[in-house]
């Protein structure tokens, strides 16, 4: 039942084969997107080294206290157990920062976040502070809808999301550039937010900036 000869591939667009409709582009899958390269960025490598040194130091202190305790210093017994506890906490903290960062970066691809600017019921990803959440309810400092603290810096939801989507696309090609653009975008958003909060008379902050702040900067795509 096998065909012996390979079938000639018909040219698309010919009469026999009308052009196929363009295949729907799959939406970026938050679970599949390659986002781990941030773990080897300079900031995160520094954090890994710091965490490892801290945990090692705490274990070393615990060991030192253990030897003091064995040597007859009764008070050292408590510290013998405390330092390893702190070391365990350090590991948990380090793991949690990584987990949160994955969540934050995946959230950039999460379509639910698009309505975060209008819907107060949307759950923000871990790591996005409640201080910023104030801006998602609506408004800005000085606006009656604003629930954030005085002097708080709102994250511009739409602009932030646009940056995250763009960065997620960039991470595969050039993680360093993606990080750099994100940093620029954050600075930009913060400066804008501060400017807005200074002009208290003005109504709510522009939650939907026209485009990602990073896209105005030179990128590799251009």
């Amino acid at each position: 039942m096998e065909s012996s000869a390979p079938e000639p591939v018909p040219e698309p667009g010919s009469i026999a084969n009308p052009p196929l409709p363009p295949e729907p582009q799959p939406a970026p899958d938050p679970e599949r997107a390659v986002i781990w390269p941030f773990l080897v960025s300079r900031k995160w490598l520094l954090w890994h080294v710091t965490a490892a040194a801290g945990v090692w130091g705490m274990l070393w202190l615990g060991d030192w206290q253990y030897h003091r305790a064995v040597g007859g210093n009764g008070l050292s017994w408590a510290y013998t157990f405390e330092w390893p506890l702190f070391a365990v906490f350090g590991v948990v903290f380090w793991a949690k920062t990584i987990r949160d960062e994955f969540r934050i970066r995946r959230a950039g691809l999460d379509p639910n976040l698009a309505i975060a600017g209008t819907d107060p019921g949307v759950q923000l990803p871990a790591g996005l502070g409640t201080e910023q959440a104030g801006s998602y309810v609506g408004g800005a400092p000085g606006d009656p809808r604003w629930t954030g603290a005085d002097g708080a810096e709102p994250v511009l939801a739409a602009a932030w999301r646009a940056d995250m989507v763009q960065a997620a696309a960039q991470w595969t090609a050039d993680p360093e550039l993606a990080e750099y653009n994100m940093r620029l975008a954050t600075l930009n958003a913060k400066a804008k937010a501060k400017e807005q909060s200074r002009e208290k008379g003005k109504p709510g902050i522009a939650l939907g900036l026209p485009a990602s702040a990073a896209s105005q900067e030179p990128t590799a795509e251009s």
Binding site: W47, K96, D100, A152
Partner: protein, 122 residues
Amino acid sequence: MRAVTLRQQVLAYRVMAYVTGVLIIVLCAVGIPLQVTGHPQLEQYVGQVHGFLYIVYVVMAFLLAVRLRMRLLSWQTIVLLLAGTIPVLTFVVERWMTRRYIGPALAAPGQAAPAAPAPVQS
């Protein structure tokens, strides 16, 4: 539905902040001078108590930071966790946390806040 409310977590954090804050002040303002003058007992025992309560403080502050969705790898969280080891800092940090994070979180919708009074028609 969460078993532990934000208010309970805030209360736990505040209690621990004030307890460790008072203990570290006692430790530094009373215990160390006494130790220098040859009476190390107070410093030793208060130090032990502070050591254990600081563990509780760190756990409570960490859980609160997670609940408030603070970015963990940030100087805000680091200062919050280390505050329990530096005299007076817990009091300062507690006020700052309230103004900057806890207040807005309690005011945010979704929290079981007392119903706002109806707007007065003028």
